[in-house]
Amino acid sequence: MHPAPSVILFSVLSGLGFGMLAWLGIGKPPMTGLFAFVFFFVAYALAVGGLLSATFHLGNPKNSLKAFSQWRTSWLSREGCCAIAALMIMGLYAIGAIFFETHWVAIGIIGAILSIVTVFTTSMIYAQLKTVPRWNHWSTPILFVSLSISGGALMTGQVTVAMYGFVVVGLIQIFAWFSSDGRFARSGSTIETATGLGNIGKVRMFEPPHTGTNYLLKEMVYVIGRKHATKLRLLAIVLMVVIPVAMIGMGAQHGIKAIIAVLSHVIGVFASRWLFFAEAEHVVGLYYGKRG
């Protein structure tokens, strides 16, 4: 799948932003006034910034408001609804914390749950697709949600939780990578099932429909950079998990170590998310002789 920068930016930043909001919603850290404002500002900048960048991915954004209407069937619509609900409820909670020096606990808990559910709905947009076997697995939502929770923990200064969270994230990430290798082959879709010609013999593409490229090939048969996948996986896990855990282990409560931990983690998540798209194979590639 084409790793569109706007979608990678969106899912990484909003994942982190909603993770922060979830921690802030359960009162961690329990701060009020100006300090609370700073934390909420960062969380909102990430979550809203991510959502805005996602709209750059749209071909026709003027109809965006209609995207809140189909929550009964569409994970993308559910994501939109949950995101707006989470941002509004947490906005209310933030007003209490910043201006009235109070924590409205019930509102905060509802906002925290909605924030995590938003990240879950994001992950389900990908996990629901039977056409992309690499994504079509329960490890996809677990990876997205655990990344969001532990990244949010780091950003809100819950360093111990973040450290253990990152270890868990690392294990889930490694499992997700290795279990998804070969899932396309195991899914049973081949050029023979795609064309229905398997009972005659072995099928091979003889001629593509057009000499040039097309939307389908650009969007869903992306193959650039796969050869560096192993190196990028290693790089991603080191940046996303190993360095932040090491920094926290050396006492990254504040200062330069904390900054390194955050930057390293975020860059690592970007690498992981880039791979998430670039490595994913869509079954339509079978029609173009581009799979296996």
Partner: protein, 248 residues
């Protein structure tokens, strides 16, 4: 609403005969022509006369080589467009309700006035039947020529999809696959019409007729022994020619 409608009795669709398709791409051209001039945004091209031309097509013809275990390989031309699936995954993923399946005849359509061009429906489709038009930014797909098949301003013989109307080989058939007595249903029954990627559970309405078995070319007729050469020694003019040429 992007929920799928209750199962309709009428299931309009295409039956494509892989035995007769000659791969001329006439259906591709007529589809592009009709759908550029009619329903919704035109099907745009990018860099059409330049170095890297590309464009939006609702129907594309692939060609495959199939190698049986024994005998020679065969070429099969393979037109592919929207299969108007009964369990269309492209419909339920749509966040705006732009993508929908008609209750009355099962045609899957895009309401371009509601489409945000997110492309998720194209991701959900296993068949590559949906393309985001790069000029209009909205999703384009086969409409089964909904603006022809019910169009009383057209002569009756033209009230079928442009691709079917134009096919010079008669490889494309249009009809109601929900009616067991329709011509297309009988054709599917007779020729063992099949689904593409049935393992994905999309239940396509369009069916493909597999190529008929080919003559292998090495089959020996039961009368062959009677046709064995009778003359073991050459004689006459040919015999003389044979002997003379041997000597040279």
């Amino acid at each position: 609403m992007t929920a799928l409608p209750p199962k309709s009795d009428v299931k309009l669709g295409l039956v494509i005969d892989l035995d007769t398709c000659v791969g001329c791409h006439a259906c591709v051209v007529s589809c592009k022509g009709w759908n550029t001039e009619n329903y919704g945004a035109p099907l745009s091209d990018q860099d059409a006369y330049g170095e890297n031309p590309s464009g939006t097509f609702l129907n594309r013809v692939h060609s495959y080589e199939v190698q049986p275990e024994q005998g020679s390989a065969q070429t099969i031309h393979f037109p592919k467009s929207c299969l108007h699936c009964e369990d269309a995954p492209c419909v339920t993923v749509c966040p705006t309700g732009a993508s929908y399946k008609r209750a009355e005849d099962g045609i899957v359509l895009v309401n371009e006035d509601a489409c945000i061009g997110c492309g998720l429906c194209a991701w959900a489709c296993p068949y590559g039947a949906r393309e985001l038009d790069q000029a209009a930014g909205v999703m384009k797909k086969c409409t089964l020529c909904v603006d022809r098949i019910y169009n009383e301003n057209l002569p009756e013989e033209d009230r079928e999809p442009a691709c079917v109307r134009t096919c010079p080989a008669g490889a494309r058939h249009f009809g109601d696959l929900g009616d067991a007595d329709s011509d297309v249903s009988k054709l599917v029954e007779e020729r063992g019409g099949m689904d593409l990627m049935p393992e994905l559970g999309t239940k396509p309405v369009n069916k493909y007729l597999p190529p008929r078995p080919k003559d292998q070319g090495n089959e020996i007729d039961i009368l062959a022994p009677l046709l064995a050469p009778v003359a073991t020694e050459t004689s006459g003019f040919l015999g003389w020619l044979d002997r003379t040429l041997e000597k040279i």
